[in-house]
Symmetry: C2
Subunit: 727 residues, 2 copies
């Protein structure tokens, strides 16, 4: 699924991250050093990495993507099963111990998705995407019809109200205008937040249905030339997508918290809290025109006007719509592929993952990730063939059912939680691996230094410099454009580091980080990409616009391989908790000041402040102790214990009971916002309680947060003690 944000919002997030560069990483690589490696082992690691980075190859990636996109492969269909089997065989051919792990999950398929305008004239809408002559794949009759996964079957007829992006802010504006969607069909444009949040808000405001459309202002002709002239969404393009309330919990709706194994206890669908109760369907801009042109009522606020060629109105008016959805819900099998490269120490795992199911062809989402992962796997396999044995075990996972609701990853994490929490040192995700030339990364702050170091180690595909150089340059350009301030001369280094964002929602790192507390990374190359979740996200698009030479695929395979090798071979895991503690302290300071403004200033906020200060001190002690040690002086048992403790810090940040109201989400520092889009909500429990002015919940969440921070400090103190003791 990956996140889709309008470019402006994306740029803003980028800029904010960029304005507050991380503190200088105490664990960062010194002159010729590598974070986490004893000096004596650095040279061998650099040689190994160089060997690995020579292997990934554009032609291989292209041929992989051509195969991956040879037919539609929606989760729960035979196309997806066939792709899983092919992937398993590919991993096996690279020397991996690969198998398919299947779960039976509650999964809909669409039988009928119908939309009509009833008045002023009857017009049949819900038109499919048009084939385009130059791109033969767009003629395939097996392309799945456009629908929103987990919308219920329904048959409703009602006047229509335009709700802009359908965000909380938009409903507040409607309320101020005295307009209600109760009993109405809402029409919202895509963008600004996850479509499941749009559905939840429409449901909460008592709409009887929701129509989602792609406004050309957001990813169509206003953004740039539309497909096939350019990479943006044509008027006929439809964004499919799930409306599962993954913000409450992702995965199989009937088995929250446990794997959907044969014997798992399943909820009745009526009791599943992550299922929408009102129908939602996606349409293209052409169909939206027919509806929006017929809305009456007041003229919209200026920022609600999109790029269709008429004045937008809020409604209601002449437009009465009829929506009919017939959904076929069944237990259906999904097929994860789990491929292992066994290490010397099988008790520690480095996990990489990417999904393989797609809405239609999914050349970008997720095919570019799958093609890239295969090249990383081939490279690791060749290293093994040439005599290397991984220190830790490397898992490469190809998830099924990500599009309907992160199902394959969630069920696997839930089913293997205890083992993962004991063994997994980190999870590295890619999804939209290549949609353009701009490198982007999100990570738990402990891993931001590792991502930057890996990007520094890899040559950029079309520039003299490294991936990191281009990444920093692009961030600076965005920053400059945003602020309107001319770039300062020769100020590169002074402008901070390339931005690593917080992990939000929208891909398979979610169960790893938010449910199991595994430190995570998500990365890829982004760019001008308007065919998200449409028929047109296909091989032709990639070959023409996204990555014509496939150089970015090969480059990302090298980045992933470098990250994997460093995590695999490090003596002491390269987790930088000083950076993490600094990020947490900024966030707790913000939350305490918000609470103070609302009149809350008591023992709980003091406890959060104290715990945050203690965490900072503990992280500093660890950094000092490890730096003094030079990573060189530990015996194997101590090293193991240090690594075990380092990994456990992230798990210490989980609240055993989860967040109030959504217990599946256990992480106290990061969660997807309940209403706030794809972006990560930082300190979700306390911040959302403050959003709601809910002082009682705030107290409860603040206590849980302080406890989590204290547990993390204990783990860090343990590391410092172990490191100091073995000097």
């Amino acid at each position: 699924m990956a996140k889709s944000m309008c470019r402006a919002v994306g740029a803003l997030v980028l800029a904010i991250a960029f304005l507050f560069p991380s503190a200088i990483s105490v664990g960062a690589q010194a002159d010729r050093g590598i974070a986490g490696f004893a000096p004596v082992r650095v040279e061998a690691e650099l040689a190994r990495e160089q060997k690995l980075r020579a292997i990934p190859d554009a032609a291989h990636a292209e041929s992989n993507l051509r195969h991956i996109t040879s037919e539609p492969h929606l989760a729960g269909t035979e196309g997806s099963h066939r792709l899983a089997e092919w992937l398993r065989d590919q991993y096996r051919s690279y020397g991996f111990d690969a198998e398919i792990v299947s779960y039976s999950v509650w999964l809909p398929q669409a039988r009928e998705v119908k939309l009509e305008l009833k008045t002023p004239n009857t017009i049949t809408l819900g038109t499919p995407e048009q084939p385009i002559e130059i791109d033969k794949d767009t003629y395939n009759k097996d392309a799945v019809m456009a629908f929103n996964a987990y919308a219920p079957s329904a048959d409703v007829t009602a006047p229509v109200i335009y709700v802009n992006y359908g965000t909380q802010e938009d409903y507040r504006a409607l309320e101020a205008m005295g307009i209600s969607v109760e009993g109405k069909i809402a029409i919202a444009r895509y963008g600004r937040c996850y479509r499941g949040i749009k559905t939840k808000l429409a449901e909460e405001h008592k709409a009887v249905g929701l129509v989602l459309y792609s406004d050309p202002q957001d990813d169509g002709y206003s953004a740039g030339d539309a497909f096939p002239r350019g990479p943006w969404r044509p008027m006929s393009g439809i964004q499919r997508g799930s409306v599962q309330y993954t913000q409450i919990y992702p995965g199989d709706p009937l088995t929250p918290g446990v794997g959907s194994t044969a014997n798992a206890k399943r909820l009745a669908p009526a009791d599943a809290k992550n299922l929408p109760r009102i129908p939602t369907m996606p349409i293209n801009a052409q169909d939206a025109t027919a509806i929006l042109e017929n809305l009456g009522g007041p003229h919209v606020p200026h920022s609600w006007q999109g790029a269709l060629p008429f004045t937008y109105h809020i409604g209601p008016g002449d437009a009465v719509a009829h929506m009919k959805l017939v959904m076929d819900y069944q237990q259906r099998p999904i097929y994860d592929v789990i491929a292992k490269l066994h290490g010397t120490n099988d008790g520690e795992w480095v996990v990489l993952g990417n999904h393989h199911d797609a809405w239609v062809y999914g050349a970008v989402d997720p095919g570019s990730g799958t093609a890239t992962m295969l090249e990383t796997a081939r490279a690791l396999g060749e290293l093994v063939r040439s005599g290397w044995k991984p220190q830790r075990t490397i898992l490469m996972c190809e998830w099924d059912g990500e599009e309907p609701g992160l199902i394959g990853s969630t069920e696997w994490v839930e089913a293997n939680r205890a083992e993962l929490q004991a063994k997994a040192v980190a999870y590295i995700n890619t999804d939209v691996a290549v949609a353009g030339p701009n490198f982007t990364a999100s990570a738990t702050p402990s891993l931001s230094g590792l991502v930057r170091d890996a990007a520094r180690a890899v040559q950029g595909p079309h520039s003299a410099g490294s991936v990191y150089d281009a990444w920093l340059e692009h961030a600076k350009r965005g920053q400059t454009e945003l602020s309107g301030i001319a770039r300062t001369q020769g100020g590169s280094e002074k402008m901070g580091e390339a931005p690593v964002d917080a992990l939000g929602a929208g891909s398979d790192f979610c169960p790893f980080l938010d449910f199991a507390g595994i430190p995570s990374i998500d990365t890829g190359f982004v760019g001008d990409y308007g065919v998200y979740h449409s028929l047109y996200d296909d091989f032709y698009w990639m070959k023409t616009f996204g990555d014509p030479t496939f150089a970015y695929h090969a480059t990302l395979a090298k980045v992933l391989g470098t990250v994997a090798l460093r995590l695999d071979e490090a003596d002491v895991l390269p987790f930088d908790y000083a950076v993490y503690a600094a990020a947490i302290t900024r966030a707790t300071n913000d939350v305490i000041s918000r609470a103070n403004q609302l009149g809350i200033q008591d023992a709980t906020t003091q406890a959060v402040a104290d715990a945050s200060a203690r965490l900072t001190a503990s992280a500093a002690h660890v950094a000092q102790a490890l730096q003094r040690s030079g990573y060189a002086s530990f015996d194997a048992a101590t090293e193991n214990r240090i690594n075990h403790e380092l990994v456990s810090v992230e798990q210490a940040l989980l609240a055993p009971g989860g967040l109030v109201g959504r217990p599946w989400y256990k992480h106290t520092i990061y969660a997807p916002g309940s209403y706030a889009g794809y972006a990560a909500e930082v300190l979700p429990g306390v911040n959302e309680a403050l959003d709601r002015d809910d002082a009682a919940t705030f107290q409860q969440e603040a206590a849980a947060l302080a406890a989590a921070l204290s547990r993390a400090s204990v783990r860090l103190d343990e590391v410092a003690q172990l490191a100091n003791a073995s000097k």
Copy 2:
């Protein structure tokens, strides 16, 4: 003509003015006082004003406007002549001594205005505005075809380049992209700056022609519902307008600086510096679509994308256009109406003015002004009938030829310069008097307090409060929306005064202030108005959208009448030079700091700073002296001398030789920007020299500025001395 700005820019200007409210006016009315009136005369003045304000009437204004808009009346046509005669007769019927003053001026009429797309297909463009069934006036065959006044005849064929708004900034962006308009036809959208500046820039960049169009983003369907559903520009609507280089000098191109009387020496047209040398024509958004859709070349920068439903490209590409203009240039007569209400003191004049010529019907521009002026005149006439005799002589002027280039006012001011400079105490202009409900005013800073006081004295048409209350409220709302900050509770008064802008370009105050140094005011009610200079600016539009009850017409007539009465009856003219000096000091501080940044810091900047400080001190002395006097203790001769000196301060700010490069513009503090749109350029000589990095001109202009400020101080010192001496 009036200025037309896109709403966003308008809001910004408003906000800036609002952020810097004028200093508290020392001459402002005290408890029951009126600025400039001896206490003993206040009660009579208030009674007179109350009587006057009871007279203007919505039904009269409506009937006047219906007559004014009964046929098209472009300058130089019989329609305009007929209207002038009717106006003369109306003023006579109110008791004015009214006459027509005619000038013979160099004026074009359009015989053929043709535009074709030659490739990729031949399409005939230049389509006229479509009639609209509900609005019968739109069927009139006599409606003037759309053209740009003072475009030359020409016949050119060339590829097309899109230049966004065609501003200096846009050409800089094109240059950075390596794209030139040399030998090409440029297509620019209306907005951001005066169309004559767009033409000048296209000419300077060696385009062979310029096509101007109205993008729906700026005043069409993106802004709100288009006519006849709403007040905004329909796809077929065309903005006519002059492209005379009024920024160099306005009026008859052949007689710069002197009146176009029978014996005036005339330039050869080839020597007139305010005439464009490349053809320009206006088209509607429908025709623009045909051209813009066929442009190739790079995709435009994001802010250049308008609201037409496709991706904008810069060109060139397939689109080759053919422009043919046949213009009939002749000496043609124009007809000003000058109506006088003689006062006791015929040696001092209060001048009001408004133009009567229109592009087509001109219900808003200028009909609303003309209908309003007539009601003010009727009210003043009734006061005279009931026994009042004005103290000063009141002139009410109806200008012809404003649309092609402020011709009627400019020629009259040039022809009567000496008498005006000896007698006129102020000029009050209205043009777009009513285009909506929001009061707006521009004025020389000395008069901003008078405008605010008059607005406080007049009841708003649809609210319990005064015109001033609604004006301030609207400004605060704009400010709040702009800043995104919630309004502070009960903070009305703390947020400053309602904003009075600086006088820029685009209406008949220009020759009075910029050429003759007469203190001036321009005022009216504005709002959602997208039919500017089109066929649709007609009676139906006004009756349906602009002012259905004509209450705003009647209200503005009361404001104009109040301003006129106060200027007419004041003992000491209510000119606040403390406010003016503060505005000048802010501007000189800015200019000195700009100069310093460019490395200029010498005797000249010091002289400006000194002169500015001296002006502030002199203005403070005047304020103290007048306040102490209570306006009550002067003998008639002293009062006359004081008033004469007060009026002469504005003339002291003129540089006898005018601005470098455009000697017609003599005012050192205000001028229309040479390139910077409709907005006033403050301290134009020095600022534009700095814009061009022209240090030598800067020195020259700074010296002229310092001399002007010093002359103004001498006049103010004279006032203070007279006031103090007579205590």
